[in-house]
């Protein structure tokens, strides 16, 4: 599956997207925290900083670490504070 970064997560990651082998949200976050040290303030294996949210395929926002993910899914990581 792919992870897309938007806004501040994109700034910190230094990339717009990356491919990750993972079956749950928790596995994705673990992979991101180990592979992208720039995200360390925002993402850990235990979850997302409150200022960040995750969205599945532009549809639902997900928080539970055991959220199942499919190979074709795209996980969007963005600032929780969407407006302004």
């Amino acid at each position: 599956m792919y992870v897309e970064f938007l806004g501040i997560p994109r700034e910190r990651a230094g990339i717009t997207e990356m491919h990750v082998e993972a079956e749950t949200l928790g596995e994705v976050l673990g992979a991101l925290s180990s592979r992208l040290p720039g995200l360390s303030e925002l993402i850990t294996a235990d979850g997302l900083h409150p200022s960040i949210v995750a969205n599945l395929n532009g549809d639902e926002f997900v928080t539970a670490l055991d959220t199942p993910l499919a190979e074709h899914d795209r996980l969007l990581i963005l600032s929780a504070d969407a407006g302004g």
Partner: protein, 575 residues
């Protein structure tokens, strides 16, 4: 009189130059606080709800707050309150920086202006003493030039709030500007211009005392420290312009007068692209630690850019040329007009041309030159500009032929950069908002970008979130604190009670502030009721109802669903 206040407002009749200090009771101050709340209360007291907004009798209120002048970050703000000449409904527009501090130091908690000067004038408030001076040397000037000239004339200790040429010519969405920040929406500048006041120059020496200075200092240090963290990173590092690509990805970036929710060339307008093309600096208001202002150098001048500029003058008009959008933003600042209403009205006109309802073949989607030309015509009220200066609703009423169905406004206020069909809690917030479609008075988009609701399928459960964000916004606008701080707080109401207690000495609780927020929202509604509001106004244009977004068929909002949500909103409000 509580700490943090002067216990009075300065009432100035610019017809005569007469000024009087009118006492404000402790009860009023505690019940309405300041800013929008105090402004709503004074608007009712001064019977402004039933006056034509451009009548000499209509009051225009500058309201400060107990936190102004304190060390609390983002507290240097003021609210401008009146009945709007664009909507005919309640209007509160907020701006920042030194004018708030200086205005309060003039020795009052608010300034109420009535009457009409005999010629274009400058209202000078010198430590509470009032005089009216000619404005011949600044007539027709932009706000930055006006400020520069007046400070040269009066002295550098003055802080200036002014209108641009658009306000002088009664463009219905003219702004009041100070130090590059704008009380932007709803035509506050139009009201000031109707009083023949080009600018207000204020200075003062009367500082308020704080009830618990040591506690306040500690709270301020803690709040400042938290304001540097991840919760405000977006504003520091990218600015609100970060919204552009996010909204485009979610299909909620209003494009071509809300005909679509994605803009193929959005990346061209993104802050990531802008920083490649232009040099950029960052700035902050007085007493602010966030520093959200991103200023781009364009030739010899500088332009502050927010998301709303990029959307309204960019994707909404189909314009992908960043140079044109930056120039258009700058032109709005020079003329003194609201970018959202300007862009929305121009985009509406572009669609009218597209449909053959307007004979202005140059005014086409995608043309940056057309946007710039339209802005100039609006500012001069020439040609089609005279119609567009009235806003999209009045323009639609004049054009007829069913065009009101796609005029992007609620209650006459043009819709900001949030596609309602894809952000349906926000859609409800737009529909019920006291001043019209507004993303600052309803923060419901925050809920749409969370797991608490389905953003494409609002249910009755969504209503309480719309109410909660509206209440919170009303309280923030009355305390006054910047909404960019909102995610810094663990418990906003409890922490606000602590700050207010440290300033005023009141034994305030979170529960009391919840009640205060609801009271302020109700006061705004009271203004609207007196101004002729009916529930039929709490809706969205036909475009947004029963027509899904072409790029996202699931993003569909029916009239029946919206009416149900609005009805539930009124039921939960107890109205």
């Amino acid at each position: 009189m509580p700490y943090g206040y002067h216990g009075c407002y300065l009432r100035i009749d610019v017809s005569t130059g007469r000024a009087e200090r009118v006492p404000l009771s402790d009860d009023v101050l505690r019940q309405y606080l300041g800013g929008s709340g105090l402004g709503a209360c004074l608007l009712l007291h001064e019977q402004g709800a039933t006056e034509d907004p451009l009548s000499p009798h209509a009051p225009l209120i500058f309201a400060f707050s107990p936190l102004v002048g304190s060390p609390l970050t983002t507290s240097a703000k003021f609210a401008v309150v009146s009945r709007s000449p664009l909507t005919g409904r309640f209007n509160d527009s907020l701006a920042s920086s030194g004018f708030a501090v200086a205005g309060k130091q003039a020795g009052c908690d608010a300034i109420v202006i009535v009457g009409k000067a005999t010629a274009l004038s400058v209202l000078v408030i010198d430590d509470g003493e009032v005089r009216i001076e000619p404005a011949d040397d600044v007539a027709g000037e932009s706000c930055p030039v006006t400020e520069e000239k007046l400070r040269a004339r009066l002295g550098p200790s003055y802080r200036i709030a002014s209108i641009g040429p658009a306000g002088e010519r009664a463009v219905r969405y003219a702004t009041i500007s100070h130090d590059g920040r704008h009380a932007g929406r709803g035509g506050s500048g139009t009201v000031l211009g109707s009083k023949n006041i080009k600018a207000i120059a204020v200075r003062g020496t009367k500082r308020c005392e704080w009830a618990q200075p040591r506690e306040l200092t500690q709270l301020s240090r803690d709040l400042s420290k938290r304001s540097f963290g991840p919760a405000t990173a977006k504003y520091r590092e990218l600015g609100t312009a970060a919204n552009l690509l996010t909204f485009n990805r979610f299909g909620t970036l209003p494009t071509r007068n809300f005909q679509q929710g994605t803009f193929d060339e959005a990346a061209n307008l993104s802050p990531e692209q802008l920083r490649v093309e232009y040099s950029k600096t960052r700035a902050s208001c007085v007493a602010c630690t966030i520093g959200c202002e991103h200023i781009y150098s364009v030739g010899q001048s500088n332009v502050r850019i927010e998301y709303e500029n990029l959307f309204a003058l960019g994707s909404l008009c189909g314009v992908s040329d960043h140079a044109a959008v930056l120039r258009a933003s700058q032109r709005c600042d020079e003329l003194g007009i609201d970018t959202i209403s300007a862009g929305g009205t121009i985009a509406f006109a572009m669609e009218c041309v597209e449909r053959g309802l307007l004979d202005e073949p140059w005014l086409t989607f995608g043309s940056g030159d057309a946007v710039l030309r339209a802005l100039d015509l609006i500012g001069r009220r020439e040609g089609i500009g005279a119609l567009l200066a009235e806003g999209s609703r009045r323009a639609a009423e004049t054009i007829g032929q069913g065009s009101i169905a796609f005029a992007p406004q609620v209650k006459g206020l043009e819709i900001p950069g949030y596609e309602p069909r894809g952000l349906q809690t926000m859609a409800l917030g737009f529909a019920v908002g006291a001043r019209g479609a507004d993303h600052n008075r309803s923060g419901a988009y925050d809920v749409d970008f969370s797991d608490q609701v389905d953003r494409r399928n609002a249910t009755l459960d969504s209503v309480r979130f719309a109410i909660e964000t509206e209440d919170k916004a009303a309280l923030m606008d009355s305390l006054i604190l910047c909404k960019f701080l909102r995610r810094v707080f663990d418990d906003f109401y409890t922490e606000s009670a602590g700050m207010l207690c440290a300033v005023t000495g009141w034994e305030v609780t979170a529960g009391e502030l919840h009640e205060t927020a609801r009271r302020i929202v109700s006061a705004k509604r009271q203004v609207n009721l007196l101004a002729g509001w009916t529930q039929a106004e709490d809706t969205l244009p036909e475009r947004f109802l029963n027509t899904p977004l072409p790029n996202d068929p699931e993003a569909s909002l029916t009239r029946e669903r919206l009416d149900e949500l609005v009805g539930e909103y009124h039921r939960q409000r107890g109205w």
